[in-house]
């Protein structure tokens, strides 16, 4: 689908340990699927560095607990700001959609 910039996987894998993702989500196929759908409409988000910054700021989660805490905080913030989007028909918060996009970008390279 021509979405992933070169080098994206290296950056991504360095900041979200796959084990943390796997512990929370198990199979990440659906995250990738939703991420690709999101990126079809939001080409500006096809930048892993930008997505990572938007999701985690300067503190990269290292464990599943840290990742979950970070995602939960971002979701609460998005819902308070009404920052939601529709991906494949499903209503996702912006942060949820960006997480999916980050996973899709990593897998595409």
């Amino acid at each position: 689908m021509g979405l992933a910039p070169a080098g994206a996987a290296h950056t991504y894998q360095a900041v979200i340990p796959p084990a943390a993702l796997a512990e929370i989500f198990g199979d990440t196929t659906a995250l990738r699927f939703l991420g690709l759908l999101y990126l079809q409409d939001q080409a500006k988000d096809a930048d892993p560095q930008r997505l990572h910054g938007a999701l985690f700021g300067g503190s990269a989660p290292q464990t599943a607990a840290q990742l979950a805490q970070s995602l939960a905080a971002r979701r609460a913030q998005d819902l308070a700001a009404e920052d939601v989007t529709i991906v494949g028909g499903w209503l996702l918060t912006r942060g949820e959609a960006q997480l999916c996009a980050l996973v899709a970008l990593a897998a595409a390279t």
Binding site: E23, I24, G26, A30, F33, A65, L79, E82, W90, L92
Partner: protein
Amino acid sequence: MIEDLRRLGGGAPIACDLCLIGAGAAGITVAREFIGSGLTVCLVESGGFDFDNQTQALYAGKNVGLPEHGVDIGRLRFFGGTTNHWGGRCTPLAPLDFAVRPWIPYSGWPITRNDLDPYYRRARDVCGLGVPRTPAEILSELALRPPTLPPNLLELKLWEHAPYPWSFGAVYREELRKAADIHVLLHANLTQIATTTARSAVSAITVTSLEGASRVITARCYVLCCGAIENARQLLSTADETAPALGNGHDLVGRFYMDHFRGQVATLVTADPQPEIETVFNYFGDPTQRLYQTGIELSPEAQRDQNLLNACAVFDYEGDPQSGIAEAQAIWRQLQQGKWAPDIGEKVWRVLRDLDGVAAMVRRRLSTDRHPLMPLKAALIVSDIEQAPNPESRVTLSNIHDALGQRRVCVDWRATALERRTARHFALSIGSALLRVGFGRCRVEPWLAGPPGEAPLGLGETYHQSGTTRMAADPRFGVVDADCRVHGVENLYVAGSSVFPTGGHANPTFTIVALALRLADHLKVVLRQFARAAP
């Protein structure tokens, strides 16, 4: 007194003080107000006490607008009118519904909610609602604890229901039969409205049965109470080669035809086997058998801030939870370059559930072996969206004639971009609110998922026809004035939802009854003035 024109046959004109044309919610309500008043009323009704196909066929017409519209569906043409299949949901229009809203062209009533409040209180008895109680009192009695909705965006909506069934024809038939000053004439179809030479007043009407019996009725005042489509039809039928139709000096009769747009805007899916949402948004009965329904409405602040129409939503718990999965599978098939498993739909649902679990800080190791796909529960989110007034949405006359020689209607029901924008905003707001309180995840209907303007309006009609003889103080902008009198015709009035300039999201019958009570008060004053002036 109740008579049947077919048996009464032709003869001398019937004279009365007030002639009401149409025995539905409006006509029956006005008539009842004159029982024992010393004034005589003739209430004419096209049908009899029961549905019959020949009479109903007089409503048939042509639809040239939105394909969801059924011209003769929803309306009933016999004693009691459309209340013969009324669902009974009662709520007043909101104060903002009456206001001029600059973001909605042609909005604004010449009266306010305060003007109508005394009549809403009286309408409660007419609709069988009993003693009024505040929403807080009702919620307390029902032991409901609704979730906190985003302030200034969404509000809890509570509807009261009339006892079911509550056909005005059945409920008030005996009362009208016993009333000496009310003359109900069945099988009497309005076939002519005669006017004075200057067309400034109605001089008589003619009613005719399908079998050919005919009578002239003379009255001091006349009220059309035939419903939004038929009121326009009857007025438009008064045009001739030399003059426009009564009330149509500014080409407004039949224009601004409205309904509420109703349909599914989203599906809420949850893995909770006993979803909490069902205990909050649902139908509830109190110990006295009174029925209530709870839902969500768009707040006045959100309407103002986002330039939206009014809207409400209820929940229907018979949805198909698998439909989202099927949709994801369909999307998968379209992703030509993806190498996705055929079970991608189920995987999507699982990850969405896990995202919800993350929000609750519940971390689990997930695998098909250890965590089988849960049974899903679904709730359809069904919304009623206000229709923006639109002069191009209209009722006109076709060149096809009915069994009585009257031209049939042609209905061109049209939406604007504002209804879709309102529906999308409302669906996303509800989805966000329900996600926040942990009730589940929403899948938005495909017609709302794309950017504005991309898909047509995916909602249908509710049979809440209105707007075709809209109320306005200035005859350039409306057919009737604030007293429901046709501009330029001193003794012709219109009752019913055809006078609504805008319709909010409220079911119209409760407001039709309130306006009919207000009109009855006005007519008593007018008719007594006539009586005093008479020699």
